[in-house]
Every structure is written in structure tokens, then in C-alpha cells.
């Protein structure tokens, strides 16, 4: 569902909640979050494990549905979309990278990167061209036929970045992208993500628990605890800060 809103607004959430029932108790993974993220912003979600940062990311990714409240991403009211529409949204609007890379082990790098284009029903010849370009962009043009297990962690994460970019999404969601990497490779990956943010103008939302990483690369840090935003800090190193004056921000909703 298209909701008219500011074209510069990437994510808009209002009183967003995601509750799980675990046996007798109710777990509020995301508990009434209202936040606006501007287009081209680089936002880091920080917090201890169980603070709800991954749950929030899944809601924005359209992998999960809110229990209550709303989340609107580039005009798509995710709570109102059908399963089919949600799949389309994931295909075209967001790209995702994960801590564990999530490449399909039985496929070569080329096939992994090409996979979203199959879902998008892109013509075979064009598909091959796009997949090559995307792998080239992350510096893996010589590894097309390798399977993920034959590559280092850094190479696998680059491949998953190439895959996330293939459909030219507006929003890149990264869940601990450097969590399984040593610091040097982690830095390489972060540089790549920053370049996407700066040169391709993608909005980046990254979950991490490394404060230093967030401070170095993100333009804004959202601190989460118990499913709520407890801190919203802006730095000077985001593309959005340098280019956009129409930056939307959310009031901090700290207290319970």
C-alpha cells in the first residue's frame, strides 16, 4: 500500500510493537518504537543482545509483521501488505546482509548473486550481466564459479553484499555484518557499505553491538534497550548529513 509521505523519508514507524508469547510470558521484543529515518541516512542500531535491535530490523525488512503500530518504508505500509506484496517489497525495496552471510551453499557465487533476479523474473542474459557487474563492484569478479565454502568469510560477506545490491534496493539492512569477521576484513566490509551509502545513495540501517564501528561509519546511532529506543545520537559522517537538509528525526522516547 502506498502511503504518501515525504519523499526523503525512508522509514517511518509509529508506536511499533512486536510481542512474542513464550510459554506463559509475553516477550516485548519491540515495544512501542516511533522513529523516522531519512533517505540516504546511515543508521546504526546499537544495544545488548535481546534489546530488540534485530527484531526491529526484521520488521523494517518485511520479514516479520508488527503486533501493533505501523512501519512505513518508502511509502509501503508493511502491516497492511499481503504476503505476496510483502515478498515483492523484500525483492525490490530492501537488500539484506546477515552475520552468517546466508549464501546458499549448493550454489556458486554467481548463482547466489543471480538468485534475486530469478525471483524478479529478469531475462537470463540481462541477469548474467547484472550479476557480473555486482560481483565486480565488490571485487569478486574472479570467484564467479566458486562455492561459498571455498571462500573466506570476508569474501562470502562481499558476495552477500553483491547479492543485496543486485535489485538496486533503496534500503540496505545489515544484521551484524562484521560479527563473524576479523577486524581487518570487518573494516573492508564497512568501507564497502559506506561506499554504497555515499555513491549509490542507499539508506543503510545496520545492527551492531560494536560502538566503535558505529561511531566510525554511521551518521546516527539509535541505542536500544528492552525493545525501546533509549538514545538517538547524530554524528557528522553520514552522507545524509552532508547532502540533506530535510533530515527527519524522531523524538527520543526513553522512559517506560
Amino acid at each position: 500500500m502506498e502511503i504518501s509521505g515525504s519523499p526523503s523519508l525512508a522509514v517511518h514507524s509509529e508506536n511499533l510493537c512486536r510481542h512474542y508469547r513464550m510459554g506463559e510470558s509475553l516477550v516485548c521484543a519491540v515495544d512501542g518504537i516511533s522513529v523516522d529515518i531519512a533517505a540516504r541516512e546511515f543508521v546504526a542500531l546499537l544495544g545488548a543482545s535481546g534489546s530488540g535491535k534485530s527484531s526491529l530490523l526484521n520488521l523494517v525488512a518485511g520479514l516479520d509483521r508488527p503486533t501493533s503500530g505501523s512501519v512505513i518504508v518508502h511509502g509501503n505500509d508493511l502491516a497492511a501488505l499481503s504476503r505476496e506484496q510483502l515478498a515483492k517489497y523484500r525483492l525490490h525495496t530492501v537488500g539484506m546482509v546477515f552475520q552468517s552471510f546466508n549464501l546458499i551453499p549448493s550454489m556458486s557465487l554467481f548463482e547466489n548473486v543471480e538468485l534475486p533476479l530469478r525471483f524478479a523474473e529478469v531475462d537470463r542474459r540481462q541477469r548474467s550481466e547484472l550479476a557480473r557487474q555486482s560481483l565486480e563492484r565488490v571485487g569478486l569478479s574472479r570467484r564467479l564459479t566458486h562455492r561459498p565454502m571455498e571462500l573466506s568469510g570476508g569474501e562470502q560477506q562481499r558476495a552477500s553484499l553483491a547479492r543485496a545490491l543486485i535489485n538496486r534496493p533503496k534500503l540496505l539492512l545489515a544484521d551484524e555484518p562484521t560479527g563473524n569477521l576479523d577486524s581487518r576484513t570487518g573494516t573492508e566490509i564497512m568501507e564497502l557499505i559506506r561506499s554504497f551509502n555515499e555513491t549509490l545513495g542507499m539508506t543503510v540501517v545496520m545492527v551492531t553491538h560494536e560502538q566503535a564501528l558505529a561511531e566510525k561509519y554511521a551518521g546516527r546511532m539509535l541505542q536500544l534497550a528492552d525493545g525501546k529506543i533509549v538514545g538517538d545520537v547524530r554524528m557528522g559522517n553520514s552522507a545524509s548529513v552532508r547532502t540533506s537538509s530535510a533530515q527527519a528525526s524522531s523524538p527520543q522516547r526513553g522512559s517506560t
Binding site: L63, A87, L91, M96, F98, N102, I104, P116, F119, A120
Partner: protein
Amino acid sequence: MKLYDITDLALRNLRESIFRNSLTTIGISVGVASLVAMLSLGIGLQQLASRRLEKSGLFDTVVVTSKRDMRNFREARDEGPTPADSPALDESARQEIEQLTGVVEAYPDIRFVTELRFDGKPHLTMVAGIPFSAKNNNDAFDGMQGGFFTSDTGAELILQKSFAEELLGITPKPGTDDTDIGQLAKSLVGREMTMRYAERTTSPSISSSIPSTSSLPSSTGSADGSVYSVVSRELTLKTVGVTDLDPDSMRGSGRARVFLPLKLLQSLHVMSESRDTSANSGPTYSSLSVRVGNPNQVPSVEDAIKKLGFGAFSLVDATRSVRQFFAVLDGFLAIFGSLALSVASIGIVNTLVMAILERRREIGIMKALGASDADVRGLFFAEAGAMGLVGGAVGVTLGWVIGRLINFGTNVYLVRQHFPPAQIWSVPLWLILGAIAFSTGVSLAAGLYPAVRAARLDPVQALRYE
């Protein structure tokens, strides 16, 4: 996703766990093979029986009798004109019947017992007329050695196998059928024999175009006062062929062991007991054989003939129950065959449910990348369908081989028991295509539940799964 991509990914997935998927596919193959083997034997037996029945003319022949002939008690209770009013079964009636829709030909049944001299020895036998059309109709004479009559009036005869044996003084052991018909034909074809018969003439003067020697003319008065004579004659005939046609077969030749061209027999005006019950101006026939083009038309032709005032009967009811028997037999065989296939389809469900567990994370990844429910469903569906298709094709081949082996084994047994070998196994094209389609269909049905389950997977849960 496009069909090509679904197929491509499905085949790739099948190759990834090649061992397990092969086992599942072999399971389907065995199921299809048992189905095909069972049905091919059922169909083969049915065809064998049908061939036998067709040979005997049971399928397409209607026998027509006159109701004036009171010896046909069979028709006595039928509705219609009383015997006295019913029309005569003469040449005009024959032509009228031949004009009925569905009738290919109608010819009189001429048969009589007479003496045949061969090598100076007399042999008593039933002689029957065979229409010239029998040369090409069905496969009534397909086992014949030598040749058919050269013309419809030629002075030629065809011997039945058992009579040929009698002529040559061969006495086969009872219950066996090991005389080589080719050998009989070799020693008999081309040989001449003399037939003695009684000619009935309406006038005392003897006139016949057929070369014959005459003796002992005698005159007899019939019931209604007309006068005719009976002249004893002889006719020399040349043997042209030996057939293994069943002597009990119907088509106008019941229990006859010597066959002559029908037109020749008609021209001889042979005196026979069944022809002189009502002697009017023209000759009448005791019965006609009516050959119908399509066995399905037999009942309607039978009805039409009855409306003309004649008695008619066919054995179509008998053949119908034979067909019914085979339909039931095929049904049973198919059920047993399908049982194996249904067990195999449970194997598909099992394999695919296992695959969901194993590929849970992969399904989650695909969904995170934007695969729709339909994409995931289609993928599992295609995998099930591919296993069914391959299993079906392999199964048909396997079933074909099994059927052949059973056929071979049976024939070895038959030959040892001194029976002629028989084709008891048949795999028509529709069975091949039908079995493959059926196995694909069953596999798709089996894939339905796993496919829906895979499509419904929650991506967050699936991605968390290690």
C-alpha cells in the same frame, strides 16, 4: 519465478541430494512398473481373447433364420408375425438385409454332410461354403497355409487341419496340438479330391454348367405338391490351402472341416435336409450369416432384421460379458499396481518433508531475498513432479521388461506343454503415456502438502534455524 527458473532450481536441488532422491524415484519406478506390468498383462490377455473371439466371428455376425422353419424354437416366443405369415428367407430377403445400415454382407449358410474321396478312400465330412470376402475379412484365415480360393466359383477347397490329418492318416495325441500345419499343407496343397453330392433339380432334365458325372436320377414330391428330382453327382476339387480355423467357429461354417467357395456351392443346388421344408418357386435359405462392420452395431442390425420378420441372433451378449470380465480384471490389476504407486507416493511426501527440514534455512534465505510463497511452492512442486516424471519413465521401461519376461516365461511353459506360443502381454501407447502422466500426477499430489508447508514457513524462524 519463470517456469524455466523453477525447473532449473528444482533439478539442481534434486541433484544436490542425489542419493535420497534417487531412492525415492526408484520407489516410484517400482510402483509404476508394477502398474504397467499388471495392466500390460491384462490388456494382452484381453487382446488374445478378443482375437480368438473375432476369429470365430462372435463379435460381428448375426445369424438370420426364417420363422417358417419351425425347427427354430428359439424364436418361437418372439413377437412379430406368426411363422405362417413371416416372409421367406430367399434371395430378395438376403438383398434386403444386405441394404441395412451397418451390414457389410449377408450370405447364405450352405453346409451339408457329404463324402470326399481322396487316394481312393472315402471320408465323410461336413462341407461349408465360404464367401470370397473372407479372404480379407478379419484374420479368420490368418493361420492358413497355402492360398485362398483363386475365384468365387473355382473348383477348389480348403481343408481344416484336423481333416487334413485324417486324410493323411495322422492321429495326434489327444490334448496336444503339435502337428505342423506347414507339413500338412506341403503334402496336400495341389492334390485333387472328388466330392459326391446330391443335386436337387426342379425339372427332370439334367442341366448343370459344372462339369460332373451324373447317375441315378430320381423324383420326389414335396409337401405342397411341387416336384423336383435328386441327382447324384461328383465334382473334382483341387486343394488350395490348409487352415487351423477352429472347426466350431460360427460364420456359416459350423463344424465344417472342408470349405468351398460359396458361389460354387450355391450353383451346385445341393440337396440338403434343411432346405426343403418349404419348396416354393425360388430357393430359400435355411439361414443367413450377416457380417456387421462394427461390433457395436450388432444389436441395432439384429433389431432391424427382427423387424423384417426374421429370426436373428448373435452372441454379442456373450462377448459383452467376456469384455466385462476383462474390464473387471484390468480394474483389479490396476488397483494392485496402484497400491505400489501409492506407497511410493508416501515416499515422495516423506522425502520432501525431510527436504523442507534440511533446507529450512535455504527457504528462509530465499524468502528474505524476495521469493514469494508461490515461488517456494512451485519449487517443491516441480521437484515432486520431476521425480514423478523420471520415476514414471523409468517405471514404464521396467514394467515393459517385466512384462516381456513374464511373457517369455509363460511361452517357455506353453511350448513345453505343447501349446502354441501366445502373446499374453501388450503395452499400447496410451498405457505408456497414461502411466507416466499418472505417476507425475500422483507425485504432484504427494508434493502438495510439502510444497504448501514450505511456502508457509516463517522466514524469521527459518533464518534462525541452524
